[in-house]
Amino acid sequence: MPDGNTDATEMNWMTRRRLLGAGGAAAVGMLAGCGGGDTTTQEDSGPTETEGEGADTGDETETTEQGDPIDPTLSFAQWPNPNSSNYNPYNTKNFPKPRRFMFDRFMYFNLTSGEYEGYAISDWEWDGNSISLTVRDGLTWQTGQSVTADDLLAQLELDMYTGGTLKNYLNGDIQESVQKIDDTTVELQLSDVNTSIAMGLLQPKHIYTPYTLDGASYEGFGRFVERYHDATTEDERSAVTNELTSKWTITPDDEPIGAGPFQFEDADSQRTLLTKYEDHPDADQFNFPEVEYRYSPSNQKRWQMLQNGVTDGYDTLFMPENQLQKLPDNVEVGTIPRHYGMGLIPNWENKHLGKRKVRQAFAYAINRQLVARNSGGGTGTKVGVNVPSGITSQLAGDVKEWLGDDYSTFEKYSHDLEKAAQLMEEAGYSKSDGTWRDSDGNKISMDLKVTSSFSDWVSADQTIVAQLQNFGIDANLLTESSSTYWGKSYVNSDFDMASQSWTDYGRRYPFFHQSWMLNSNDATSYWNVPETVMVPPYGQPDAEPQEVNPLPKLQKLSSASGDQAQQLVKELAWTINQSLPAIPMMEKQAQTFLTTDDWNVPAKDSDKLQTYWPNEWLPRRGDWTAKLE
């Protein structure tokens, strides 16, 4: 799925998307074309990007220079205590960041060019609705055993058995749809699905799960696959899931076995140490022997570690302006779009917020730019949403591109208290004593709930509540602990307004976010978005609203491409824009940190940074090397 950050490349990808529109076959060709593994250069990507160029420049020559690295250890930070970390990906408790160097991702995704490049999956090929994935040649588990199709199969199947979304696009049940073709290839049979969606789901996966593992003190994951196959009832499958998700692959006696460029060396209460795995195909890219992850359970600690030079970088970490100022000169801060941002979630069963006009009035009453400013702590890394539409990457111009000429007919909900008041009146409310009241004269009181552990959301919500109060709504912010909020208030719809992302995180294709806002389990079960919503006909905001069921359009969009896809995205955007299942507030630009004192890294505005996890990709692509003495 193409992605981008600057206008120039944006145009580039947009044109290509239109080309793809000519037919699904073109998409298949393009995607297969970029599957050439890490040596492929992309025909249609600009001359400044991809690692072909990186390999030619200084970095490469420097790695061949003689001498020892000034700093032999690349240091990052991790959340869970290294002592009690775990590397079973299905037991997500304490699954720490060192995994990023111990395991490889399926593919590399360049946000600027929108290209996929092979990595752990070096090749893939579409054949109609099925895709065959081939494991990279020479990739081995750190016991020396090759990574095979079995391991890949285990990864794909277990992901789906434990709730992975890809299973929604399978053509049949999991066992039938995932087939081993040969020792290194697995075929996935999908239903009629847009390749952007399928690739968007496949690319971020890692190969974590050895089917069987010789020479390790724990068993492989194959037995879970077999048990899932054997299970006939839901209870049996639950039992397998239960066991799989509570298994630990690290104890004082056994060490996790990876298949990435660095292997587990040891862990204590302060850090996890990884050493280079010389048999990894990309081992040459690393001219330093160690990577360490330091234990830092709080943001304050992570800021301080960067400020004091304890860590050499961080992939995505929010740091407010007053802390950024304390960074030494050798720290570079880049920003990467995350396709993620907080929205104000109305409870559709609330007697006021169930009314479309009230939601719209709220959208007018809240200045989203101010919300974004305050949430971003002066860094400008949060961007207020201009047009609520379910389309992300506003900065890159995606919203305008997708909506095209119709952009102007979409409601902007620019801060306008008069307009808001007018909508409230139309909805049958009147204002007295500075507060809005319903026809019975009761004040409109509502709580906005948020979890205290997301401090940027709390900031945003404080701003929202203050503005609602100014508008004349008796609004209150209620801050709850993470478990109470997620475990009780949110999942039981025990809120008037809640705080949750309006996007589906880390994906650029609008389908993900539109589906999230209109038809996800969260939307229908927790926000109580009904099956059909009232929306005026496309492009006529003042016309009489009609009942619309977005589900068929979403289903069509999941397999559509080209102009048809764009038309569907527009129509769904209209539904969202007019019905506001959630009121999108802002979009996040992740701050990513690199240091230049001991390391050769790209400049902070380099396109090389434009990937979701630059700290993990740059070293693998030879773009983050140690300076030598």
Binding site: S84, N86, T92, P297, F454, S483, W486, G487
Partner: protein, 335 residues
């Protein structure tokens, strides 16, 4: 002896009541470990989408229906009787191991803090009493009152900000440096002391004033006693009087207080350890509440309760032995 038996019975009963109470309370907590996990994962920028994350959590919450609460309670009590505190949900360890890693550090900073404020407090208090009414006495009394009004965490934060970050003199968190190996070696001991300095310091700075004022009050009272006048008339040296009579008698009431305080300090460790990111029992307790790690929560709570019970228990039993003026336990049971 009857009193001792009765008192022991009451201590055991108290522990049981606390177990039962917390067991019930904890089951009332909204959200289980999986829901805690949801927030935790969302916070860490996972590489899966929000909808995928939610779907997985749903899949996990659906499994393993709980046994009825009374069965869980029975099992828990039965396990406790066998010294089994259960298994942590979040850590691949038995609760007893988790607690055993943490408790010594809490014990270390809390008892050091208490000991220092006690010693400084009584020393200063006695001295103030001798100089009663002097400028020194007035000034220290004022300072004592002032310090008593400062919560220890405020001093802690100021110490962290200045001693820790601005001047970079002392570490602001953790229990020892990563470079040392735990064990009986000098670098480790030194590092542990260094890391404990700020937390202990903030306790002592805000705490000694109260002890000093109390000691001062006790001493002044005893200095006015008739038998001291008699002692002076008998020509006993001032030093002897100070130690044998004043010191001893003024100290007696403070002894019980000290023992009781030990237990209470454990409860207070919750705040202190959070502020200094000190990996002790209190921090573990807060963490496990946040994670809904019920077995660890129970275990930590239980341990802290037992510390308080034992503190009060010893205080009760030894009080009569140490202070002969106090009437025995039997009479105290007269109600």
């Amino acid at each position: 002896m009857n009193y001792v038996l009765k008192r022991t019975g009451r201590a055991v009963f108290t522990v049981w009541a606390v177990i039962t109470l917390t067991f019930g309370l904890i089951r009332l907590l909204p959200g289980g470990p999986m829901q805690a996990l949801r927030g935790y994962l969302m916070q860490q920028n996972p590489s899966i989408t929000t909808s995928e994350l939610q779907a997985r959590i749903e899949a996990l919450t659906a499994i393993s229906p709980d046994e009825p609460i009374w069965v869980q309670y029975g099992n828990y009590l039965w396990g406790l009787l066998h010294g089994d505190l259960g298994q942590s949900v979040w850590l691949n360890k038995p609760v007893s191991t988790v607690l055993a890693e943490r408790a010594p550090w809490t014990l270390f900073i809390m008892t050091t803090g208490l000991f220092l404020m006690f010693v400084i407090g009584i020393g200063l208090g006695a001295f103030m009493a001798y100089r009663e009414g002097s400028n020194f006495d007035v000034a220290t009394t004022g300072i004592g009152i002032l310090l008593q009004s400062v919560p220890f965490y405020v001093v802690g934060l100021v110490l962290i900000a200045f001693v820790g970050y601005q001047w970079e003199l002392l570490p602001t968190g953790g229990h020892y440096a990563s470079s040392v190996t735990p064990g009986l070696n000098l670098p480790f001991v030194f590092s542990s002391i260094k890391h404990a300095t700020l937390p202990v310091g903030s306790l002592v700075l805000t705490g000694f004033g109260g002890w000093a004022l109390n000691m001062r009050g006790n001493s002044i009272r005893i200095l006015g006693e008739d038998y001291l006048r008699v002692a002076r008339l008998r020509g006993l040296s001032e030093g002897r009087i100070a130690l044998r009579y004043v010191g001893r008698n003024a100290l007696l009431p403070m002894y019980t207080l000290l023992l009781i305080s030990i237990g209470y300090m454990f409860g207070g460790s919750v705040i202190l350890e959070e502020i200094f990111a000190y990996p002790g029992l209190g921090r573990k307790l807060i963490q496990s509440i946040g994670r809904r790690d019920f077995p660890v929560m129970m275990g930590a709570f239980l341990l802290i309760t037992i510390a308080v019970v034992i503190g009060v228990f010893i205080a009760d039993l030894t009080y009569g032995l140490i202070d002969p003026r106090a009437s025995g336990g039997a009479e105290r049971e007269s109600y």
